[in-house]
Point group: C2
Chain length 416, copies 2
Amino acid sequence: MSGRRELCTPLRTIMTPGPVEVDPRVLRVMSTPVVGQFDPAFTGIMNETMEMLRELFQTKNRWAYPIDGTSRAGIEAVLASVIEPEDDVLIPIYGRFGYLLTEIAERYGANVHMLECEWGTVFDPEDIIREIKKVKPKIVAMVHGETSTGRIHPLKAIGEACRTEDALFIVDAVATIGGCEVKVDEWKIDAAIGGTQKCLSVPSGMAPITYNERVADVIAARKKVERGIATQADRAALSGNRPITSNYFDLSQLEDYWSERRLNHHTEATTMLYALREGVRLVLEEGLETRFERHRHHEAALAAGIKAMGLRLFGDDSCKMPVVTCVEIPGGIDGESVRDMLLAQFGIEIASSFGPLAGKIWRIGTMGYSCRKENVLFVLAGLEAVLLRHNAGIEAGKALQAALDVYENAGRQAAV
Amino acid sequence: MSGRRELCTPLRTIMTPGPVEVDPRVLRVMSTPVVGQFDPAFTGIMNETMEMLRELFQTKNRWAYPIDGTSRAGIEAVLASVIEPEDDVLIPIYGRFGYLLTEIAERYGANVHMLECEWGTVFDPEDIIREIKKVKPKIVAMVHGETSTGRIHPLKAIGEACRTEDALFIVDAVATIGGCEVKVDEWKIDAAIGGTQKCLSVPSGMAPITYNERVADVIAARKKVERGIATQADRAALSGNRPITSNYFDLSQLEDYWSERRLNHHTEATTMLYALREGVRLVLEEGLETRFERHRHHEAALAAGIKAMGLRLFGDDSCKMPVVTCVEIPGGIDGESVRDMLLAQFGIEIASSFGPLAGKIWRIGTMGYSCRKENVLFVLAGLEAVLLRHNAGIEAGKALQAALDVYENAGRQAAV
């Protein structure tokens, strides 16, 4: 059996909507030796992480902890633990990840009411509010930042309406947490799911979630403790409950794991928790507002460069995600050939898109650690060079100047 | 907002049945910068990992890939994708993790038939085979290495019977893969789930699974492609299928992700895959037989030391797991106080147990990277010292001599 060589990966400039480049300080922390899951040193880290997640989500919720799985695991954990068969769930859809919510909700037996609008736009919140009043759903679930179309949805008015109509407002903030404003309490979000591999610049593999007592009450009614470890009292108190279908995603059991009872469930993904803690620590150290401004700043430089090149941005600019810039692929140009050359020659990765937008747009992410000046300038330089080699009718030499103008102007304003 | 300090964890000697100490080469690899999930450099790593997992599981199965979640996620992914409501599932139980199988199977609607034997023993395979013939289940699911009682179950005859009776044989090999023999093909195991945080000495957070075409056919009948990315052909071919309840654990969609179609599902946990690849690479480099022998060797030294101290091993020795040694807590001794002192004074962690064995036994793991001579000698020294301080009636000064005898004798035999 010939020995396999040690891992050796190329160093990429990752300008996609995730997974993005991981902050070197997060990578460093992932070489820290592990400790046992119930070692006081580790439960201390678990508690610290819960505190930091509350700050990140801008919430006072008791429950703020990660699901051990990728972002989609976090979304399923919340939906699986709250949805019961025949529940009415309203899902406004403005891109591919809205369909993921319907996919999961249907599998857990929900009556899904879909509201759709054109990809590249968002809803008028009033349209959603009208539907809430009509359908009277138990749950309204929607995406905050839809990376498939590069749009970000206003949530505050919808949260208010949900509270008034007594619907649970569940928000997929996977692509926005750590890079854009997400105010869980102020926007009356009942449950939110974040992602690690986007603006948090932590490897994929964990999904921070938070939820309030409205959600916790629904979960409590379905609480179960495993037969192998249940006490007499558990069995007496819980025998009548309808259990959550998934054991792994059973938030009632994860609450017992993440709280003082420390009831054995899964074995916490130790190194991934180290990484999440460091990623969130760095976000809080930078400061939420400063970090959001940094993302807007680099987005402005990128967008300026793209437009100066003569390319068109896709979608309604009034609801553009500050961390994802969608570029229309010029007529007659093979978008995948451009992406391949960018990766092969420059080591730069940008993303294609899905469904109706596949082959029509590129998606350039400026998220977390990838969101740096040199990356913005490099992706503009690379894209221009590759498009010229593909004989695209673009303006040569303009993109970097436009981006440098944005950076230099910002420098002058900062100096004033 | 006062800045939080960088992560700083104590260095522990972890002698539990998981999570155990991670090999430094695995920790090092986890600081490797990430690449995109569809970057050819990454899909190459995915393919390499699948190949290496086949060698680890000793199988020719096409399907051998990790679930992004802890070991329990792997177990649920297989059961959720194979079990349909009203399916008869036979589960022989000889400890806490057998109950986990019933827990999950019931949640997905199975008719669970439980067979139980005394904790600390295993079944006579004939008893299980008789039950298979009686119940005629669609699935027989059982644990290979039951860490709650420290027993390992013979599987070959059961696998043969399942094949004859056309039942699917699903095995939880979470605690044995990489430390004990697991011959998936030879023992006619239809699906096996491994763990990373045990004998593989990789952090918790990923669950390698493998399954053959008998299982793949069951999954194929439930195949679904998400609405946001399904092609016309997908919709036509698959509309009649009954989807798997969980989207995250839908093995039909993970097959499309792990095969040439590379259909977007979750975002692969990049750094955890680096760690799994390195962990399995090190196992294969050491050689399976050599590695299993190393585990038996250190177990012998540990057991000799424990007995020389005057302590009793718990359970039927004929089916003792070579990687977990269960020690009866001497009468009048507070097992948790001993564990706490071991951790506080020596930085050594051993484990307590569950349910009926809680407070009755300690469980000492000798798994993967933790399974080293200095760790065995240190845990024996620490346990002896702590027990003496708890006024336990044990033999002082005998344990290390007995263990050293085992090591020295082995040294002489090796030299012959």
